[in-house]
Amino acid sequence: MIKGKAFVLGKNIDTDQIIPAAHLVYSLEDPEERKFYGRYALSGVPEKQSGLPKGGIPLVEPDKFESEFTIVVGGPNFGCGSSREHAPAALQIAGIKAIVSPGYARIFYRNSVDGGFVIPFESVEDLSTQIHTGDELEIDQEKLELRNLTQNVTYEIKDLGSVADIINAGGIFEYARQQGMVA
């Protein structure tokens, strides 16, 4: 079960909006530098479209490194654009556990899964127009449900399918170890 506050975005959120290219220079290994990915996660989203429906809400407050939000709700084609793995990593570093969108760009999806950063859930409908930033959500992987506790509505989410094994293992390396492919 994943619980927490929703942060809502529109459609075609590309990786330059998730983590602007100017910030890709920090080391992901160095614990101090790594934090900056959290600080700048989703900082490329135009102000009006950040934290819908109201807008003008940053994922991470300007002087902070972590977000008060836990679940990103996006419109279709989430994560399009560049192949930078820094994008799902930045969301994870900011404290995001899961994303819910009706569809993902494939490299972003793959990176989220293989790197074990965030869980990319597919919703049946586009929920970005129904859920509000700040709503309390609960994702139930067993029942394939997303419950909006604030609005008291329940939505269906799709089964993770063939990537579930990699997600449950925690990433491609853990999965390959379980399968005996990698020592």
């Binding site: 075609n12 590309d14 330059d16 909006q17 602007p20 290219a21 100017a22 890709l24 220079v25 920090y26 080391s27 992901l28 290994e29 530098e33 490329g44 989203v45 135009p46 279709p76 084609n77 399009c80 654009g81 560049s82 192949s83 930078r84 793995e85 820094h86 569809g103 993902y104 760009a105 494939r106 490299i107 793959r110 990176n111 293989d114 790197g115 063939s162 990433g171 491609i172 390396f173 390959a176 492919m181 990698v182």
Partner: protein
């Protein structure tokens, strides 16, 4: 099977595969660059051990190109990490900054150095790795974790994609039309997620009318429609290009006549017109004619999709003898292309002379402002510029500031617009000068 299915079948030890199958494929080439290389190396060392060796140094290519000419200390450190790793691992194909080996943009450097071979599998830590599909190769972008996995094992899992087929009728490109117009039209038609998880295969008689650089412009931008890979069947144009650049043997593969496609679309080249993608999405299409008169403050010609030699020849055909109304930036993708600017001539003048006489600002081979980059990046849009660009993405902030607006267009359209300072259909110039 389609061409893509055949390549994935024979790299996974299967006689046949079908869309939706998950297969582990053997990798022929892994490419990485200065933005994604260092984190991929970090993961590789963490997972396989500090002293782990790359699975096959002959198959790993490292091409720094993104943040090259900057004072940013972190960006420079990233190149140092690549340099150190290439030395430790004795990698023969590292194209270091500041040496004669320096190349520039990876997707153009790969073919120039002979790494885009028909029938092979190429992965790269960059979404535009799909460019190499122009050579009949299966090529797609991956993240750092997947790259680290390949570095240790030489393998990666792939879901076999369905193939969308785009057939071009017509035996020539009209003199005002470039491959960029064709791909912008297609992306506008199917949308930025119109090919998600799928292959875009380009075929038909029109393909024969396109040179290898035109084909690269098409496959480069399949990612802008969400495509996994783009692919063109190899022919004598492909083989001639590849044979000049490598001695390594390769096997050209072709789609079977009875291959199954997700969908088939046809375009008649002779009926197509110059296209533009308006801010802030590559599928926000309009014809150049519809946007005539839109005010601009900057023009930019460069990147892996719009900074090839033929792109600059096209631009020079329009710019020659004209003065320019707006700041115009020229960035050759690679050092080989930069040398071409000094030797290739239009009306007796080198391309470089044409651009310099018109007052263009000329940058050094690299990605430069195509993806914004550090503040001091050449040509970066630092405020509310309105730029027409031959690059491939115009999402908010892609070329720098979120306040900027970017129109994507062919080098012809960008050059025509640079001359007038407003969006201009290149037919205005081309009727006069070429026909």
């Amino acid at each position: 099977m389609t061409l893509t299915e055949k390549i994935l079948a024979n790299h996974s030890g299967n006689t046949s595969v079908k869309p939706g199958d998950n297969v582990w494929v053997d990798v022929d080439v892994l490419m990485t660059h200065d933005v994604c290389g260092p984190p991929a190396i970090g993961i590789f060392q963490k997972q396989f051990g500090e002293n782990a060796r790359v699975w096959d140094p002959e198959k790993m290519v490292i091409i720094p190109d993104h943040y090259i000419f900057t004072k940013d200390k972190y960006a420079n450190r990233n190149v140092d990490i690549l340099r150190g790793f290439a030395a430790d691992q004795d990698l023969p194909y590292y194209f270091d900054v500041g040496t004669d080996r320096y190349k520039g943009v990876c997707h153009i450097a790969l073919p120039e150095e002979g790494f885009t071979r028909p029938g092979e599998v190429l992965f790269g830590t960059d979404s535009h790795t799909c460019t190499a599909g122009a050579f009949g190769q299966f090529a797609t972008g991956i993240g750092n974790t997947d790259a680290a996995f390949i570095m240790g094992t030489g393998k990666l899992w792939v879901k076999v994609p369905e193939t969308m087929r785009f057939i071009f009728d017509g035996d020539h490109l009209p003199p005002y039309l470039m491959a960029k117009d064709i791909i912008l039209q297609i992306i506008g038609d199917i949308g930025v997620d119109g090919a998600t998880y799928r292959t875009m295969e380009f075929a038909g008689p029109g393909i024969k009318a396109m040179n290898i650089e035109d084909r690269m412009t098409l496959t480069n931008m399949v990612i802008e429609a969400g495509g996994k890979n783009g692919i063109v069947e190899p022919d004598e144009i492909t083989e001639e290009y590849v044979r000049k650049r490598t001695d390594k043997p390769f096997t050209s593969l072709y789609s079977d006549p009875d291959a199954k496609y997700h969908s088939v679309r046809r375009y008649n080249l002779e009926e197509m017109v110059p296209m533009v993608a308006k801010p802030h999405s590559p599928d926000n299409k309009a014809t150049a004619e519809e946007l005539e008169g839109t005010e601009l403050t900057r023009a930019y010609i460069g990147s892996c999709t719009g900074g090839k030699l033929t792109d600059f020849i096209a631009a020079a055909e329009i710019i020659k003898g004209n003065s320019l109304k707006i700041d115009t930036y020229i960035v050759p993708a690679t050092t080989e292309i930069a040398r071409g600017l000094e030797t290739e001539k239009v009306n007796g003048k080198t391309l470089l002379e044409v651009f310099e006489e018109a007052g263009c600002k000329i940058g050094r081979a690299s990605c430069a402002a195509c993806l914004g980059g550090p503040e001091d990046t050449f040509g970066r849009l630092n405020s509310d510029e309105i730029c027409i660009s031959s690059t491939n993405r115009n999402y908010p902030g892609r070329m720098g500031s979120k306040q900027a607006q970017v129109y994507l267009a062919s080098p012809y359209t960008v050059a025509a617009s640079a001359v007038t300072g407003k969006i201009t259909d290149p037919r205005v110039f081309i009727q006069e000068t070429i026909i």
